[in-house]
């Protein structure tokens, strides 16, 4: 049973919850309305009986001998048999008078209180009887009153009981109850139906997400469409970013593997050919081994930069950047190079901090290798969307026609600079993966102090 509820769809859960809520609401509303109607019926019955009681009181007379008589009753119904209006007058346990409408029958004996009307309704339940006699078979509403008769001739207490037939009231109550039930049932069913329609409409985007996800899994589409309500749109857009990253990651890994295979097979072929020679050329072998090492290093780094979470978290990276610059300063201080840093203290990077370290490390390392004595690094945020890195140096700068070559794999402009020549290519790859920009500044683009430099913009 529990499993059934656990497996209920969201739409069915919502519909069930709405149906239960409506059921409780309409039950309470029905109960309240019925009670209110019963009260109004009782009030009407009591009002009618009080009028009879007053006419009865007006008709009571006692002669000189102390005998009670009721003459000239204004209500004719008291005199018509089975009229539905009845009355009795009692003195303690002795019946003094009974209306002609009660031929062969009697009213149930109910409690009376001096000077106070006691109303007993058969609409709302059984009448608490003091004594049951051969009472009326039909349901009746009863009003009782005890009066203290003292007119100088007679001093006695009398119990007056009037009753009327409750059947008409009960029929009206039953009719009302049936009508109310029908209305409430109709209204409830209508509302449940409306709720079901509403939920179908509400859950349509979710069903669409599920359908589109199935299509994506089946390879029928690449991404979620952009026709979603705002709340779901944020989810589908995030999923689209995730899917795009996944696809990009797979593409990069495939590319890396293909490049790796291609780049390794050529030097391996050369080595194999060289080993088959009678006289092995050590220099040629070393050259190919170096080539293999460079390729492996580059491709491993390239692949590792593509391994990053699809969801980009914002990191406060001021401290991390300062640590890297401090280490770089220590490395290049013996060469007489001074690094000037201007880093925004509220620097935030929305991505993998390791990538930022890689970009900054390689760019700064490059600047320090080319610098004569000074390098400058400025890092700032453009809101939370872009990170600007500008690294300048007082070195010779790189001619425009060689800019693109520098940013390619394994390209080194001058053997005077150490390294395996893949640093800037790595930077290029990382920046590209963030849809950023990288550009080598021309000599006169910056200033006299720092004629050479590199500007990197990373989109976050």
């Amino acid at each position: 049973m529990l499993t059934v509820f656990k497996n209920l769809s969201l739409r069915n859960r919502a519909a069930l919850a709405a149906a239960l809520t409506l059921f409780f609401f309409f039950s309470l509303a029905g109960f309240g309305l019925l009670r209110a109607y019963e009260d109004s019926l009782n009030n009407a019955a009591e009002g009618e009986l009080r009028a009879y009681m007053l006419s009865l009181l007006g008709a009571i007379d006692v002669d000189e001998k102390g005998v009670l008589s009721l003459e000239d009753l204004p209500v004719s119904a008291f005199n018509q048999p089975n009229s539905g209006v009845y009355a009795e007058v009692w003195q303690k346990q002795r019946l003094l008078w009974r209306s002609n409408s009660l031929i062969g029958q009697s009213l149930p004996k109910v409690e009376t209180r001096l000077g106070k009307y006691q109303f007993y309704s058969s609409i709302t339940g059984d009448i608490p009887l003091v004594e049951r006699s051969s009472e009326l078979s039909s349901s009746n509403n009863i009003l009782s009153l005890k009066i203290d008769w003292n007119d100088g001739v007679l001093s006695e207490q009398f119990d007056l009981i009037v009753a009327n037939d409750a059947e008409p009231f009960l029929r009206r109550q039953e009719g009302y109850k049936e009508n109310l039930l029908l209305w409430l049932l109709g209204l409830g069913l209508g509302l449940v139906f409306l709720q079901i329609l509403l939920f179908r409409w509400l859950f349509r985007p979710i069903n669409k997400v599920v359908d589109e996800l199935e299509s994506i899994q089946a390879g029928e589409q690449q991404q979620f469409s952009d026709q979603y309500p705002n709340e779901v749109d944020r989810l589908t857009q995030s999923l689209n970013v995730f899917l795009a990253n996944e696809n990009q990651h797979i593409k990069r890994v495939k590319e890396s593997l293909a490049n790796l295979a291609h780049s390794l097979k050529t030097p391996l072929a050369v080595i194999r050919a060289e080993l088959s020679n009678k006289k092995i050329d050590q220099t040629a072998l070393q050259e190919q081994v170096d080539r293999i090492a460079t390729v492996i290093n580059y491709q491993l780094n390239r692949t590792s930069t593509s391994v990053r979470p699809s969801y980009r978290q914002a990191y406060s990276c001021y401290e991390q950047v300062q640590r890297l610059i401090a280490v770089m300063q220590r490395l290049h201080e013996p060469e007489g190079i001074l690094i000037e840093a201007n880093i925004a203290s509220d620097l935030v990077f929305k991505g993998d901090v390791d990538d930022l370290s890689e970009v900054l490390g390689n760019v700064l390392e490059n600047a320090c290798k080319w610098a004569k004595s000074r390098a400058s690094v400025v890092i700032s945020n453009d809101g939370d969307r872009k990170l600007h890195i500008k690294v300048l140096d007082d070195g010779p700068g790189i001619p425009q026609d060689q800019i693109n070559e520098v940013l390619q794999r394994g390209r080194r402009l001058d053997v005077q600079a150490e390294g395996q020549g893949i640093g800037l290519s790595m930077v290029n790859d990382i920046v590209e993966s963030y849809s950023g920009e990288i550009s080598l500044k021309e000599s006169n683009d910056i200033n006299v102090e720092f004629p050479s430099g590199l500007a990197v913009i990373i989109n976050m």
Binding site: N297, N301, S304, L324, P334, S357, E418, Q420
Partner: protein
């Protein structure tokens, strides 16, 4: 100059030991972090080459411990991890330079030479003092333009004195820095090497580049 090489890969370690010895260095080669710590603490090490992925005690821990013990000799780290984040961690632990595997042995020797020169306050491979010059890269020693032929021990002795120009260097210190650990260390032979060196550098005994300070040691006199 005494170099500690801590590398667990036997072929790399042996190759480094051989090539650094050829370059005139005394090499203490170990294959784990615990032995590296022992050597760093007990021997008069001038420079250490430490692989980060050492067994028993991690390379970073070795460097941190040595620095905590106020060992100030330069440390070159070898690492297969080429990401900057990892390099920063190694350098922050107290290393002075790093080299990413795979590396050319020539590049490692160049870095070692650079670190040694850095300690001595020199800027290039050529150590000079007046007419005397020592090319650390080629191990060519010249005096007044003439090549001087030196044995391995004589070269080590001169190299160490050139890195400590005008400083008093005791016989014990010289023994620690020019003899391998498993050699028979006789401080009297230092006197023999110094005498031979004087004869080769200054056959006429006019310039007297190496002074003897009785009971204290020797000093390579700074040329005017």
């Amino acid at each position: 100059m005494r170099i500690l090489v801590a590398e667990d890969e036997a072929s790399i370690r042996e190759h480094l030991e051989q090539r650094l010895t050829e370059k005139g260095y005394i090499v203490d080669a170990v294959d784990n972090g615990a032995d590296a710590l022992y050597c760093g603490e007990e021997y008069a090490i001038d420079l250490a080459v430490i692989d980060l992925g050492l067994p028993k005690v991690d390379g970073i821990e070795v460097i941190k411990t040595l620095r905590q013990q106020n060992k100030k000799f330069p440390i070159l780290i070898l690492t297969a991890r080429s990401r900057w984040q990892e390099k920063v961690e190694g350098l922050e632990a107290g290393a002075d330079d790093y080299l990413t595997k795979p590396f050319h042995i020539e590049e490692l020797i160049a870095r070692v030479n650079a670190l040694v020169r850095r300690v001595a306050g020199q800027t290039d491979n050529m150590l000079t003092n007046g007419d005397l010059s020592v090319d650390v890269g080629t191990q060519v020693v010249k005096y007044a333009g003439e090549n001087i032929d030196l044995t391995a021990y004589e070269y080590r002795l001169l190299h160490y004195l050139m890195l400590n120009i005008d400083k008093v260097v005791s016989k014990t210190e010289l023994v620690e820095h020019i003899y391998a650990e498993d050699n028979d260390k006789d401080s009297n032979t230092i006197e023999v090497f110094v005498r031979r060196l004087r004869t080769k550098l200054d056959p006429s005994s006019k310039h007297k580049p190496i002074e003897t300070l009785r009971g204290r040691g020797y000093r390579l006199v700074k040329a005017d």
